[in-house]
C-alpha cells in the first residue's frame, strides 16, 4: 500500500504564535519498499511521519493512505481505518505497555481494530513469536521484563495489528548491537512480506544497507529523494551542508578516490568495499607487515 503526501504543510499553534514545522512536502512512500527518512535533529522527521497514520492532521495539503484521504478537516472518527493500516513504532516504545500480561498487551491493538478475542490472540501469538518472545513469558506481567524484552513486546503490539505499512521512528536507539541486528532483520522480513516500511534513522550504514529510497529532510522541507546508491554519490560538501554522516564504507571509498582509486559501484558494506579494493591493489608494490599477513602473502 503506497502512501502519498501532497503539498503537505504543518504548523503547531495558531494565529500569530503559529510555528511552521513542515513546508510543502511532496513524496510517495512506495508500496512494498523500505523508505528511510534522514536529516539533522529538529528537521521535522518525526513530525512528518506522524502524518502517515494521522496522529497529526495536515495544516495544508493532504495525505493519501491507500484509498483514504486525510486533510485538515478529516474527522477523528474517520481516522481509525488509517491507523489500522499504518502501524507506528516510536522511539522507546516500551513505555506504551500497560496490560497485566504480555499477551493481553499485544492483543490490545488488534482488538481495538475490530478483531474478536480469538483472532486477536492468534495474531498476538504470531507477533510474539516473530519478535522472538518465548511462550514462557506470555503470561508474565510486561513490567517484570528486561528493557530489551519490553521493547520486543511493544514491537509485537504493533506487528499484531497486521498493518499494511509500518513506520519506525529511530527504533534502534538504546539497543545493543545484537538487538539492532535483529531489528534490521525484522525490517527485511516485513519487506519480504510485501509490507511498506518507513524508517527514521541517523545511522547511515543501516540506511545504505536497507533502504530502497531515502528522503533527506532539512528545515521542514524535502532536500532530496533518491535511491541510496544515487544519494551517496553526492560530494562530501553536500552531506556536510545537510549535517549527515556518510556510511563508513562509502566514506572510506571516497577517501581512496581522492588517491586515484576507482569504484564501479558504491560499496554497500565493508566486505563489498574490501572486494573492490582488492582488485585494484598492485600487490607487488605492497609490503605488508608480517603480523598482518601471517607470512601467507610472501609470494
Amino acid at each position: 500500500m503506497a502512501i502519498n503526501i501532497e503539498g503537505l504543510s504543518f504548523h503547531y499553534g495558531a494565529g500569530k504564535n503559529a510555528k511552521q514545522i513542515l513546508d510543502d512536502i511532496n513524496l510517495t512512500v512506495e508500496a512494498g519498499q523500505i523508505t528511510a527518512i534522514v536529516g539533522q535533529t529538529g528537521s521535522g522527521k518525526s513530525t512528518l511521519v506522524q502524518h502517515l497514520n494521522a496522529l497529526l492532521l495536515p495544516s495544508g495539503g493532504q495525505v493519501v493512505v491507500g484509498d483514504q484521504v486525510v486533510t485538515s478537516k478529516t474527522k477523528e472518527k474517520a481516522l481509525g481505518p488509517v491507523r489500522a493500516q499504518v502501524g507506528m513504532v516510536f522511539q522507546f516504545p516500551e513505555n506504551q505497555l500497560f496490560a497485566s500480561t504480555v499477551l493481553e498487551d499485544v492483543m490490545y491493538g488488534p482488538k481495538n481494530f475490530g478483531k474478536n478475542d480469538e483472532e486477536a490472540e492468534a495474531l498476538a501469538k504470531e507477533a510474539l513469536i516473530q519478535v522472538g518472545m518465548k511462550e514462557e513469558f506470555w503470561q508474565h506481567s510486561p513490567f517484570d521484563l528486561s528493557g530489551g524484552q519490553m521493547r520486543r513486546v511493544a514491537l509485537a503490539g504493533v506487528l499484531a495489528m497486521d498493518p499494511q505499512a509500518m513506520v519506525f521512528d529511530e527504533p534502534a536507539a538504546g539497543l545493543d548491537p545484537k538487538g539492532q541486528e535483529e531489528l534490521l532483520d525484522l525490517l527485511q522480513e516485513l519487506k519480504a512480506a510485501q509490507k511498506t516500511v518507513v524508517l527514521i534513522s541517523h545511522q547511515m550504514d543501516q540506511v545504505l544497507a536497507l533502504a530502497d529510497q531515502v528522503v533527506v529532510m532539512q528545515d521542514g522541507r524535502v532536500a532530496a529523494i533518491e535511491a541510496p546508491d544515487q544519494l551517496f554519490l553526492r560530494d562530501r560538501q553536500w552531506f556536510l551542508d545537510h549535517a549527515l554522516d556518510l556510511p563508513e564504507p562509502v566514506a572510506f571509498a571516497k577517501d581512496l578516490e581522492d588517491h586515484g582509486y576507482h569504484f564501479d559501484h558504491l560499496p554497500k558494506s565493508v566486505t563489498d568495499l574490501a572486494e573492490q579494493i582488492k582488485c585494484q591493489v598492485d600487490w607487488d608494490r605492497v609490503t605488508m607487515p608480517n603480523s598482518l599477513t601471517g607470512g601467507d602473502r610472501d609470494e
Binding site: Y12, G13, K16, Q50, N53, L55, E76, K77, G80, R83, A84, G87, M88, F90, P93, N95, Q96, L97, F98, A99, Y108, G109, K111, N112, F113, F143, G157, V158, M161
Partner: protein, 266 residues
C-alpha cells in the same frame, strides 16, 4: 497542549518580574481574599482597576490573557447558568416552564463571572512573571513560622518544587503515550461513557509507571549526591526585598484601604 497560559511562566523584564515572589504571593492572596467580600459594583470596579494595573505591569499582551481565559470559559458558563437559574427572589425577569431568571440571580451571575475572571487573571499574572522554583522557595520562606509547631516546611517546599518541575515532563510524556496508544487504536472520543473511561487506562497506567520510575530515579540520584535533609540548605537564588516591593506593598495597602472603605460605606 502547550497553549495553556494559566500556570505558565513566560520570561520577561517588566516591572512585576523584579518584585520579590513573596510579595507577589502575599498580594495575590490578599486580593483573592478581599474579592470574596466584594458585593457592590464600585468594589468590583476598584478590583478591576487594580487588576488592570497589575496586568500592565507584567508587560505582556492582552491577547495572551484572553487565551488564558478561553480554556476556563466553559467552567464560567456553567457557573453562570447555575447562578442564573437557581437563585430565587424578585423581580422575575424571564419565565419559561421550570426555568426562571430573577434580577438577583442575574446580578449574582455577573458578580460570579467577574470574581472568577479577576481571580484567574490575578493568579495568571503571578505565575506568568514568577518561575515555579521561585514560587516554591517563596512559599517556603512565607511558611517558615510554622516550623515552630514542627511543620516540615522545607520538605514540603522541596516536594512542591519537584512536583512543579515534573509538570512539563508529565505533559510531554502524556503526549507520547497518547500517540503510541492512538496508533494502536485507542479512541477517547467515541463510544459510550463507560467505554470511554475504560479507554483511559492504557494511557494512565504507563504514565503512572513512568512517573514512579522517574521519582525513584530522582530519589536515588539525590541520595547518591549526599542529600540528607531539606533543612538549612543554602540556595542558588537568594530572595531579597527591594524598592519594588515597597512600592508594591504601598500600592496594595492603598487598594486594601479603599476597598474596605467602599465596603464600609455600603
Amino acid at each position: 497542549m502547550n497553549n495553556l497560559v494559566i500556570g505558565q511562566f513566560i520570561p520577561g523584564k517588566a516591572w512585576l518580574y523584579r518584585v520579590d515572589p513573596r510579595t507577589k504571593i502575599l498580594v495575590t492572596v490578599v486580593y483573592v481574599f478581599l474579592l470574596i467580600f466584594a458585593n457592590t459594583w464600585p468594589a468590583y470596579a476598584l478590583a478591576t482597576l487594580f487588576l488592570a494595573l497589575t496586568l500592565v505591569l507584567t508587560g505582556q499582551s492582552l491577547e495572551l490573557y484572553w487565551r488564558g481565559i478561553k480554556p476556563v470559559m466553559w467552567l464560567i458558563i456553567f457557573t453562570v447558568c447555575l447562578q442564573l437559574f437557581f437563585t430565587g427572589g424578585t423581580p422575575v425577569l424571564f419565565h419559561w416552564q421550570f426555568l426562571k431568571i430573577t434580577l438577583p440571580g442575574l446580578i449574582n451571575a455577573l458578580y460570579v463571572v467577574l470574581r472568577f475572571v479577576l481571580i484567574v487573571l490575578m493568579s495568571t499574572a503571578l505565575t506568568l512573571t514568577t518561575p515555579p522554583t521561585a514560587i516554591a522557595s517563596a512559599i517556603e520562606s512565607l511558611l517558615k513560622p510554622l516550623k515552630a509547631i514542627k511543620v516540615p516546611v522545607a520538605e514540603l517546599a522541596l516536594m512542591l518544587s519537584i512536583a512543579l518541575r515534573f509538570v512539563p515532563l508529565l505533559m510531554l510524556e502524556t503526549d507520547k503515550v497518547m500517540k503510541a496508544q492512538k496508533s494502536r487504536g485507542m479512541s477517547l472520543s467515541t463510544g459510550s461513557l463507560i467505554k470511554r473511561s475504560k479507554a483511559v487506562l492504557p494511557l494512565l497506567i504507563p504514565l503512572f509507571i513512568g512517573a514512579l520510575q522517574r521519582a525513584l530515579d530522582l530519589a536515588n540520584a539525590m541520595e547518591v549526591r549526599g542529600f540528607e535533609s531539606a533543612d538549612n540548605r543554602t540556595r542558588y537564588r537568594v530572595l531579597s526585598f527591594s524598592k519594588q516591593d515597597l512600592v508594591a506593598a504601598l500600592g496594595t495597602g492603598l487598594f486594601v484601604l479603599l476597598f474596605i472603605g467602599l465596603l464600609w460605606i455600603n
